[in-house]
């Protein structure tokens, strides 16, 4: 049984149909990339998964439970962390307070402290700046903070929306390294990216979204060498 199963998902913005019945699945331990052009429906897919947008029809099943109608604030407790596009760290809170917000639904203080130590080990830069206001961090550091904050909920599935957006090339590489490490640590990853080349290079499998439908799917390596993908998304 797949960890996450999306069946014929349809989503509308008013009368405009953003997702025209997409289906895909994510298995435990995989890194899955959703790639596609601007406006293809990548962010919409993630926002529907985590309850920020309502689905018109279709089903989202996570670990055997139907979560299609679960409200956004209950999703994190079910084991899914969502790193939104643009990072959305709490600018006026310190790095430390942001990380604590990530553990908002958890109660055991000792376990939270363990997770915090783990995040600081993975992102030493966050520990150096733990008392700094999050709004004063650079874009790459904010992305690290957003990732650390998501990890504080101890998710089994982590969904990331454009983690490399607006970052310098050095940070892009660093962020993708981290995603790989998160995956090696046992967390399943669903990744939405415009940087298709980078995404495909670390993903196991990928789905290509085109104006609200999945046009292609398969092994990431195969897609990386697929001619139409190369033309449309890899600029080759």
């Amino acid at each position: 049984m797949p960890m996450l199963e999306v069946k014929d998902l349809q989503v509308y913005y008013g009368v405009i149909q953003a997702l025209k019945g997409i289906s895909f699945e994510v298995n435990q331990g995989e890194v899955i990339a959703l790639i596609g052009a601007n406006g293809a429906g990548k962010t919409t897919t993630l926002q529907t998964l985590t309850g920020i947008l309502p689905a018109k029809s279709g089903q989202i099943i996570f670990e055997g439970k139907d979560i299609t109608k679960v409200p956004a604030h209950k999703i994190v407790e079910m084991g899914i962390a969502h790193i939104p596009e643009g990072r959305r760290v709490f600018a006026d809170m310190s790095v430390y307070e942001n990380l604590l917000m990530g553990a908002y639904t958890r109660k055991d203080k000792a376990e939270i402290a363990d997770s915090l130590a783990l995040v600081y080990r993975r992102f030493p830069r966050l520990e150096e700046r733990k008392n700094q206001r999050a709004g004063t961090l650079s874009g790459g550091e904010q992305q690290m903070l957003a990732m650390g904050r998501a990890l504080m909920s101890k998710p089994r599935l982590i969904v990331m929306d454009e983690p490399s957006m607006g970052l310098s090339p050095i940070f892009v590489n660093e962020i993708f390294d981290i995603i790989q490490k998160v995956s090696e640590g046992g967390t399943t990853v669903l990744l939405v990216e415009q940087n298709a080349k980078k995404a495909l290079s670390i993903a196991d499998r990928a789905y290509v979204l085109e104006t609200g439908s999945i046009s292609l799917s398969g092994n990431a390596d195969d897609l990386l060498h697929n001619e139409s993908v190369q033309k449309a998304y890899l600029g080759e």
Partner: protein
């Protein structure tokens, strides 16, 4: 000199009441991004509940205050759930603003229906001896002392609460970014309810303090202080708790000084003129944040 000090303490005392009311405005604005224009009228309702609990139901002052705070808290939660929540996703933010004005008139007219239009004289609820200073040249009334202390205590507790407790951090998170807060597991509706609960409970206390200092109560008692507290909140930087405190006290002092040294007729006009000047010079208010985003 003595009269200056005496006006100053009156100003600080009045300003402390404005500050407590302004908190309700500023917290609700910060978290729900709406102006609750009915907030001033909750003060009046609180004062009526406390007054009737003592004169009609024969409760002790302490129980009467408790009844006022509890009932206003419940009323705040109800108003939010019934009148504002269904409009939260409305296309225009004006919908909820107009509803708030409607709720304000509803509360005034309900009070008119139940208690009548004539002014009721407020009973002494807080009985604290006056402080006599400078060989009797200046007396500070007990209620003045209590008002200032109450304001300081409320501000300190609230600041601590927002900074150090889980619901407080949820409030900060919702104020900063509703969607991101939801993704952390924060229940946005519950957090907004809590904000209304706190603001309305404090409004009952403000009603008590206001009517103890100026003991005449009508269904319109909350209206003008409500608007002035709104001015104070904007003055201090709407959304900011310390801003509400500083804005409230400054406004109270300006009002009393204006009344004493310029003209009692135009004291209110002076308050609003000061607001206009502050907004021209610093549009975000004294403690308001300049919104800047880093990409």
């Amino acid at each position: 000199m003595m009269s200056f000090l005496s006006y100053l303490k009156d100003g600080i005392s009045l300003g402390s009441i404005y500050a407590i009311i302004a908190l309700g405005y500023t917290m609700v604005y910060g978290i729900a991004k709406m102006l609750n224009f009915a907030h001033g009228d909750v003060i009046m309702v609180g004062a009526f509940i406390i007054l009737s609990s003592i004169t009609k139901a024969g409760l002790s002052p302490a129980l009467a205050i408790l009844a006022g705070v509890v009932l206003c808290t419940l009323m705040g939660i109800t108003i939010e759930a019934v009148a504002y929540r269904p409009l939260r996703k409305a296309a225009s933010p004006l919908a909820v603003l107009i509803t708030a004005i409607g709720v304000s008139y509803l509360l005034q007219n309900l009070a008119l229906l139940i208690f009548g239009a004539d002014a009721k004289s407020f009973v002494t609820v807080i009985d604290v001896p006056a402080l006599v200073l400078f060989d009797g040249k200046m007396t500070i009334k007990g209620i003045t002392i209590i008002t200032i202390i109450a304001c300081i205590v409320i501000m300190s507790v609230l600041t601590w609460f927002v900074k150090n407790t889980k619901p407080g951090r949820a409030m900060q998170a919702v104020a900063a970014d509703k969607d991101a807060a939801q993704l952390m597991g924060v229940n946005v509706n519950a957090t907004i309810s809590l904000t209304f609960a706190i603001g309305s409970g404090l409004a009952a206390i403000a009603g008590l303090l206001l009517c103890s200092a100026y003991p005449s109560l009508t269904p319109y008692t909350g209206s003008m202080p409500g608007i002035k507290a709104f001015v104070a909140a904007v003055f201090g930087g709407i959304g900011s708790i310390p801003g509400a405190m500083v804005g409230g006290i400054l406004l109270g002092v300006i009002e009393i000084f204006g009344r004493a040294y310029i003209s009692s007729q135009i004291a209110d006009a002076i308050c609003f003129a000061v607001l206009i000047i502050v907004l021209l010079v610093k549009p975000t208010g004294l403690f308001g944040k300049n919104i800047q985003e880093k990409v």
